[in-house]
């Protein structure tokens, strides 16, 4: 008897926990985007993985004196010169715009004039931010430090060295003595990379060349190599940092989505109906939404923000589009070497991940894996404009009642997603109430629509475990 009640309860709980209803069908316009520029302390990386080949393109938004710029990246192999390139800076902007979370707009049809029933939608997008790379260089006799210069190249405005080292202290001293401002605690992080046979890709700017180029900003650097490891070393960048850093990863594969192999990859909340007043503050909305999701998921998850098949022959590459989808030339610029006109029907799948990492919550470097998961995903938020005009007909009155309920839900959803206060939303909910005939009744408050809190999880689990325990013991006693 009790047992059957338990199962009924469990079933109800399951239904409740999983009935976050996805919003209506996709629509063709886009109104606003939440792009990467909204996030401070941010870097952008393009990852291309094909078999054992990896191409990494690192954006460079270094703003200080280029003399001060330096970058040290652990890499698994000694790179050849032809494996190091300069990439186009606008590539990041394009990928960011294309894949950033978006706001779409719908308009309710006029209930009293059904012939006007039109459904228009529109969208708004957001974008990401730039990487935190610092240090600098001039070369010195390396052997005294246990450091070997494996290769030395000039690529674009950069002087590049590939170093290997036998001990971290020597490498640190060599870098410091040669003018690289590396973080004070870098040594203890350099050590494991050295022991793991990693090489160091070390970059500084050739200031004369840069000055003569006339460019205002440093170019993104692109490296390719063959390795079983599909990872991004984040620990070095955190050596001196107590805070968090945001990283946006744009990934291209043949098979499907990439996901993180040693941290959780979770979807950013999507297809949520939000109030129309969010439109001018959509950027703030998304940064607050991300912040809340980041805390809710334990500050140690990687967020999926976009996933789509962008093969040249694939039809709809976004729905709605924030910006143009990457074309073949963009993909080739990113290092997608299999997307060639002579290559039949090449498959290209694009994934956008957003990770906010800190030293404490992300002790390991990010490991990735390519999966055959081709399911599309986008961060998409929906606002629906109310119909306006004469609402005196019965349908109009019913519409107004429904509208209040809907707007209440939107406000609750907004609160659940961002934590924005509900106090100011009363006018929004009752904006059209004066058109209602007769008395206006207060509306029942629907649930917040958010996911259950951590305590509930613990309670549920505790319950399930104890019921399991009780169940078995009960059987034992019954004999």
């Amino acid at each position: 008897m009790y047992r059957s009640k338990f199962w009924v309860y469990l079933f109800l709980l399951l239904i409740a926990g999983t009935s976050a209803v996805p919003a209506s069908a996709f629509c063709g316009f886009y109104v606003a985007k939440a792009d990467a520029t909204l996030f401070n302390n941010k870097s952008e990386i393009i990852l291309v993985r094909n078999g054992q080949n990896t191409t990494i393109t690192m954006s460079n938004d270094f703003k200080g004196d280029v003399d001060e710029f330096a970058m040290v990246v652990p890499v698994p192999v000694v790179l050849r010169k032809d494996q190091i390139r300069i990439a186009r800076a606008d590539l990041f902007e394009k990928l960011d715009t294309y894949s950033s979370p978006r706001l779409v707009e719908y308009y309710d049809p006029m209930p009293c004039m059904p012939e006007y029933a039109l459904e228009v939608c529109d969208a708004v997008a957001l974008s990401s931010s730039r990487m935190n790379l610092s240090s600098m260089m001039v070369f010195d006799a390396a052997t005294n430090y246990g450091v070997s210069i494996e290769a030395q190249y000039d690529v674009g405005e950069y002087d590049i060295l590939i170093l290997s080292a036998t001990e971290s202290d020597g490498l640190k001293r060599w870098l410091l003595n040669n003018g690289y401002k590396i973080p004070a605690k870098a040594e203890q992080v350099l050590e494991p990379y050295i022991k793991d046979q990693m090489k160091f890709f070390v970059v500084k700017v050739d200031t004369q060349l840069f000055a003569s180029s006339g460019y205002q900003e440093l170019s993104p650097i692109q490296i390719s190599f063959e390795s079983d490891r599909f990872m991004l070393p984040i620990r070095l960048g955190m050596a001196n940092s107590q805070g968090t850093q945001d990283m946006i990863v744009y990934a291209f594969t043949q098979e499907g989505r990439i996901e993180c192999a040693n941290y959780r990859t979770v979807k950013i909340p999507t297809d949520r109906n939000i109030p129309t007043f969010v439109k001018p503050k959509f950027g703030q909305f998304y940064t607050d939404l991300f912040e809340k999701a980041y805390h809710r998921e334990g500050e140690n998850a990687v967020f999926l923000e976009y996933a789509w098949n962008i093969s040249p022959t694939f039809g709809v590459k976004c729905d709605p589009c924030n910006g143009p989808a990457p074309i073949v030339q963009d993909m080739m610029n990113a290092g997608v070497d299999w997307v060639d006109a002579r290559n039949g029907q090449p498959q290209v799948f694009f994934t956008r991940l957003h990770v906010r990492y800190s030293r404490d919550e992300f002790p390991q470097d990010l490991l990735f894996q390519v999966t055959p998961n081709k399911e599309h995903f986008q961060g998409r938020y929906i606002m629906t404009h109310a119909a306006q005009g004469d609402m005196s007909c019965d349908e109009g009155q019913a519409y107004l009642s429904d509208l209040e309920v809907r707007r209440k839900k939107e406000v609750d959803e907004l609160y659940a997603l961002t934590g924005w206060k509900k106090d100011n939303a009363v006018n929004y909910i009752h904006e059209f109430s004066n058109q209602k005939k007769g008395e206006v009744f207060p509306i029942a408050i629907p649930g917040n629509g958010g996911k259950p809190g951590g305590m509930l999880m613990i309670l549920v689990l505790g319950m399930v475990l104890s019921i399991g325990w009780w169940w078995v013991n009960d059987r034992r006693l019954a004999i």
């Binding site: 926990g17 081709k374 999880m457 475990l465 019921i467």
Partner: protein, 274 residues
Amino acid sequence: MPYSSTLSLSHSDRKSLDPRDFQIVFLASFLLYGIIALDWAVEWDKYVVLLVTAVVVQLGFEKAFAKSKSSWKSAVITALGLSLLLKSGELWVLALAITLAIASKFLLRMDGKHVFNPGNFGIVAVLLLTGEAWVSPGQWGSGIMLLLFFGSAAAMVLLRVGRIDTCLTFLITYGVLEYIRTILYLGWTHDVFFHKMCNGSFLLFTFFMITDPVTTPNAPKARILWAVTIGGLAFFLSNWMYISTAPIWALIIVAPLTAVLDRKFKHQLFQWNR
């Protein structure tokens, strides 16, 4: 002599205490935890396909092999295991995985027991054959709470089936090797080590897959040897081949060794609900 090394209850009690009941409750609660707390996508169609296919295939084989005692609970456990571990966008891939998993129990047998852990076999088979399936080792995240949660649940099952030795030996072997490499050799801090060891998928494997009493060797000594081999191989595959799902591959490779060890170390064959 009945199998009773870890059970001290009376015969009738033992009959009522089928550890598989625990396993079903725990695995289902893990799935529930993943869905509610970890924001997993809810895929009812996949769970239903796995469960129904598992039971149908199991009953079909039992009929074909004229088995008098039904093991539908084992089939449910395998289906729940695959629901937790295996991902695919295609229902037929999951149906194939569970069919191969259950079929392997009846078709790939040596010395009266099946060679491979059914779930492990099903997963590896579709990973290799279809290219449409994957395992997400990061899906649980990592944390000490997972260790306690999975560990305490597993203890309730393993103490009953007498496979806590296998689980601990694997954990210690892998842990010691990982500690030597990560901390003593590479020089990472302890939190890196704990982050690796408290990975939820790794723990689930340790507590619920490698410990399958039917496919582990019968003799305690043999099980220790067996678990050490899997631990060593998983460590190698993870750190030198960079395979993020190393334990799954290590288990499938080492599984046939059970038959060899059973011949070398004679011991009573395990049976559920003796």
